[in-house]
């Protein structure tokens, strides 16, 4: 069978079919209009559930068997425990023991702790992964070893896909730090407390079968119920569902690198000069070391000018909580929580608002919070001369990161990417990025240690910062500077095999990733 390709709106050649399903090519950030109705899960009756509300079963394997696990099903998990997750691996171990094949794993993200799943990808228990593939799993996929093509979606795109019925979840396994026997669950207490369970929301609403797994069972009612027991089929108790110190991973610390601090400071200065930091503004606070430092600089500026932010969207973390406690931020809209201080504050401070990919990111909704943000700070592995950016592959072609909320946040009013001009000789600004994850028309400013490039479309920002004594350059100048220092890289080598599709927030395909020629 010959594969057919079409060119999408960012000029990438996209196969018309991936994993046997037809593909809709990307048509511009707002180009694709969909019609129809949301997906609905099957109707259930109370008569089939215990009157005493106790849905506990013996173990995960029993629950999966009762849920009717069989070949080819789609199984979802979520990533609130990040690199400390102990549940996803057990799900597929149980599936393998039950002799089930060709499953699709649909996580909200994967982490290096999921490396053991390679065994199940190799033995055919798992057919392919639809979700971010960080580290080892991405490398495995990039080597062309996965049976099907991976499908990467943003957090909002994942919700959209579930809501629209593009992905039908047969069984959702929701690891919950606290739950009652009825299935009400939250992430606030228990040894694996992680804050909230927003990424499991779509799964709990739309999956045909929902299994809640916990190591901290409380008597009914478990409140607040972030996951509602009325959506839950089975509850499983386990000794341990996560490794607390890895749930709160070390990446959520302010960078100590003087170069990155310099970029952070320059970013904050730019925002101030551009008039973005004003009383009542809002910002997205990322979890990377540089983004955290920028939040801190925002705090300094607000303190100095006696102004405050109306809200910050983010993973709560100690630094953001500090701003909240000092009254410099009025509300934190939490998508996930990055450290124990964040979890504590969520429990105790009513100015936290639980959000989910539905409220913050879903593109097929009646608006979302991301587009209301005054400024979002994001990362990228590469940016091209048209400001198109890559966040999933490295310049050598390997798929090593997920999209996360990155695409969804591009709809913020000012999108700034603070990035070093080169990393270990690899220039960030390229003629063409390896994988386009976000269209340049949504990316406004690149801040590097060697200068700031403003997207020519943003004449307002160019005009607004021209007297600010900031090192503003064109993106061409920055590229030249990087190449003068590093040399011009040779193109990475790929085979024709498509190993993953990159979805846009509306379900269209913006790019594909090919197998690396090793």
């Amino acid at each position: 069978m010959t594969i057919k390709y079409v060119k999408n709106a960012v000029g990438r050649m996209i196969p018309t079919e991936i994993n046997g399903k037809p593909v809709i090519p990307f048509q511009g950030p707002h180009g694709y209009k969909t019609t129809g109705w949301k997906y609905g899960p099957p109707i259930r009756t109370c008569g089939d559930y215990p009157d005493d509300g106790d849905k506990r079963v013996a173990d995960l394997k029993t629950a999966l068997a009762k849920a009717g696990l069989k070949d080819g099903m789609t199984i979802s998990t979520h990533h609130h425990f990040r690199n400390g997750d102990l549940v996803a691996n057990q799900v597929f171990q149980a599936a393998a023991e039950l002799g089930v094949k060709d499953l699709v794993w649909f996580p909200s993200a994967s982490f290096p702790c999921h490396e053991p799943l390679i065994e199940y990808l190799e033995d055919g228990t798992i057919h392919h992964i639809e979700g971010s593939m960080n580290g080892p799993l991405g490398r495995f996929a990039s080597q062309g070893k996965m049976r099907g093509a991976g499908v990467l979606r943003s957090h909002g795109g994942r919700y959209q896909a579930v809501q629209d019925g593009e992905v039908v979840i047969d069984i959702a396994v929701i690891a919950a730090p606290a739950a009652d026997p009825f299935g009400n669950a939250n992430g606030l207490t228990g040894p694996s407390a992680c804050g909230l369970l927003g990424f499991a929301l779509a799964d709990s609403q739309y999956a045909h079968n929902v299994i809640v797994v916990t190591d901290h069972i409380v008597p009914f009612p478990c409140i607040p119920w972030q996951v509602q027991g009325n959506n839950v089929d089975y509850v499983v108790e386990m000794d341990q569902i996560g490794i607390p110190e890895r749930i709160v991973s070390g990446t959520t610390r302010i960078t100590k690198s003087p170069d990155r601090l310099y970029i952070a400071e320059l970013t904050a200065k730019f925002c101030e000069a551009a008039g973005i930091i004003r009383d009542g503004f809002s910002f997205q606070a990322g979890a990377g070391g540089t983004a955290l430092a920028i939040g801190n600089y925002f705090g300094e500026i607000m303190r100095e000018r006696s102004i405050k932010a109306r809200f910050a969207r983010g993973g709560s973390n100690q630094y953001l909580v500090e701003l909240l406690d000092q009254g410099l931020v009025e509300h934190i809209l939490d998508g996930q929580t990055f450290d124990l201080e964040g979890v504590r504050s969520m429990r105790e401070n009513p100015h936290h608002v639980d959000t989910s990919p539905f409220t913050s990111y879903n593109y097929h909704g009646k608006g979302n919070f991301a587009s209301m943000l005054d400024v979002v700070i994001l990362g990228a592995t590469e940016v091209d001369l048209n400001f198109n950016a890559n966040v999933v592959t490295h310049s050598d072609g390997y798929l090593l990161h997920g999209i996360g909320g990155w695409q969804n946040c591009l709809f913020g009013k000012n999108v700034i990417l603070p990035i070093p001009l080169f990393r270990d000789r690899i220039p960030v600004i390229r003629d063409e990025v390896t994988t386009i994850c976000g269209p340049g028309e949504l990316i406004d400013v690149i801040v590097t240690e060697r200068g700031i490039a403003i997207n020519p479309r943003r004449t307002d920002l160019i005009e607004g910062t021209k007297d600010a004594n900031l090192p503003v350059k064109t993106i061409h100048e920055l590229k030249q500077e990087a190449e003068r220092i590093c040399g011009v890289p040779q193109p990475a080598q790929f085979t024709d095999k498509v190993i993953a599709a990159i979805k846009w927030v509306d379900g269209t395909v913006i790019d594909v990733v090919r197998q690396v020629k090793e």
Binding site: D259, Y262, S395, D396, D424, R425, I426, I485, Q490, A492
Partner: protein, 402 residues
């Protein structure tokens, strides 16, 4: 067999090369590079070119690369070759035009950032932190066995790295070894040489003479200045003769780590043990009409303590201080910035001078007080520094508020 460079889990922007000359079989280059997919071909080409340049025809070369830039790769390969082959040749990367910085004797030397001479990673971004000067160090930060390869790396860095306008300084080794270091730096756009553990005027003259000789041979016309570092009791005693030993000496620095060791005293936070020495160095520098530069502050995480130290340093009369971490630069600059009072006074003097000039008057006066030309010059410097420090607008004369 010879090796050069660094390797290890934390090494980045560097490489480790192993060279073995063979009798036959041509060149066998193996590359293990983190950036092989993007630069593999160009690294191989470069290695072949350098081996050919030195006439090496049969050899096994292993390059373990962690993202080294070309000038680093070249320095490492050249170092390995020179450990195996007797040669006068050099493999010189192209000089970038930006590596030529026009220099003056009295430019600001508030901060100078030390960069270990055998660690390329720290060199690359040093300039973005805007120190007044950067120091490529061949002395204490380079292990004795690594001196040869560090000389080549420093030479190549001087030719290739844009330090974004910072004064380009090199700290050579103690004499006599330091005299041989000069061959690797003088022809390559260096602005200033730091002479460590200086104890006599004669040492300064020795360095001066060697620089003049190399500069003449390479037709270098730019001035190359000297900053002797006083690091011993004898050095303190001879501070004035050292400071006035040559026209090229533009600053006198003090190094307190070695000085206190020489005294047999403990270095304390209050610094009373070095109070005499610091005063003596400032005094000698002023007597010779040059700048006085303080030592470094070694606790890189305590910015408040640094601020206090710099303030004291300034009050003693120093013009600048060494930095061992980029984050120290900003604090040092802030502490050496002029005070509000000084700025106001300087503004008055500069305005009076401008008015007098526009009226064609030869004499500048504020009220009935006459202002001498050196005072005007000093005021202009204060204004300049205030603008650089962000305390005064560039167009301060256009707005009544300043």
């Amino acid at each position: 067999m010879a090796t050069a460079g660094n390797k290890g889990a934390n090494i980045r922007s560097d490489c480790f090369v192993t060279l073995e000359l063979t009798d036959r079989g041509g060149l066998e280059i193996s590359l293990d590079s983190k950036v092989g997919a993007l630069y593999g071909d160009s690294i191989n080409t470069l290695a072949e070119e350098i081996l050919a340049h030195f006439g090496v025809e049969h050899a096994r070369l292993l390059i373990e690369d962690r993202g080294a830039l070309e000038f680093v790769l070249a320095a490492r390969i050249e170092a390995a070759i020179k450990a195996c082959v007797e040669t006068d040749k050099e493999y010189l990367p192209d000089l970038i035009p930006k590596s030529q910085v026009q220099n003056t004797k009295d430019r600001y030397r508030r901060s100078r950032l030390y960069l270990p001479g055998n660690s390329p990673k720290l060199m690359l971004n040093a300039g973005i932190h805007q120190p007044d000067g950067i120091i490529l160090d061949l002395e204490d930060s380079v292990a004795p066995g690594k001196k040869d390869e560090a000389r080549l790396l420093v030479r190549n860095a001087l030719r290739r790295v844009d330090f974004y306008g910072a004064e380009r300084m090199v700290r050579i080794n103690q004499l006599p070894m330091g005299l041989d270091d000069l061959e690797f730096v003088v022809p390559h756009h260096v602005n200033l040489i730091l002479l460590p553990k200086c104890e006599s005027a004669e040492q300064v003259q020795q360095v001066d003479a060697r620089i003049a000789e190399i500069a003449a041979r390479h037709h270098i016309e730019q001035p190359i200045y000297l900053m002797p570092i006083i690091e011993s009791a004898l050095g303190v005693v001879n501070a004035y003769p050292i400071a006035s030993a040559s026209e090229t000496v533009v600053a006198l620095a003090i190094g307190l780590e070695d000085y206190t060791a020489d005294l047999g005293a403990q270095r304390t936070e209050s610094g009373h043990e070095s109070f005499y020495a610091r005063g003596a160095v400032v005094n000698a520098a002023r007597a010779a009409g040059i700048q006085a530069i303080d030592s470094v502050f070694s606790n890189v995480s305590d910015m408040e303590a640094l601020r206090a130290v710099v303030k004291e340093s300034r009050s003693l009369g120093f013009d600048g201080m060494g930095c061992i971490h980029p984050r120290q630069i900003k604090v040092v600059h802030e502490a050496f910035a002029p005070t509000e009072n000084e700025i106001e006074k300087a503004k008055g003097i500069v305005q009076a001078f401008d008015q007098a000039t526009s009226q064609g008057l030869g004499v500048v006066a504020i009220g009935s007080k006459m202002i001498d030309p050196p005072v005007v010059k000093r005021a202009q410097r204060t204004i300049d520094l205030a603008i650089r420090s962000g305390l005064l607008s560039k167009n301060w004369q256009d707005t009544p508020e300043g």
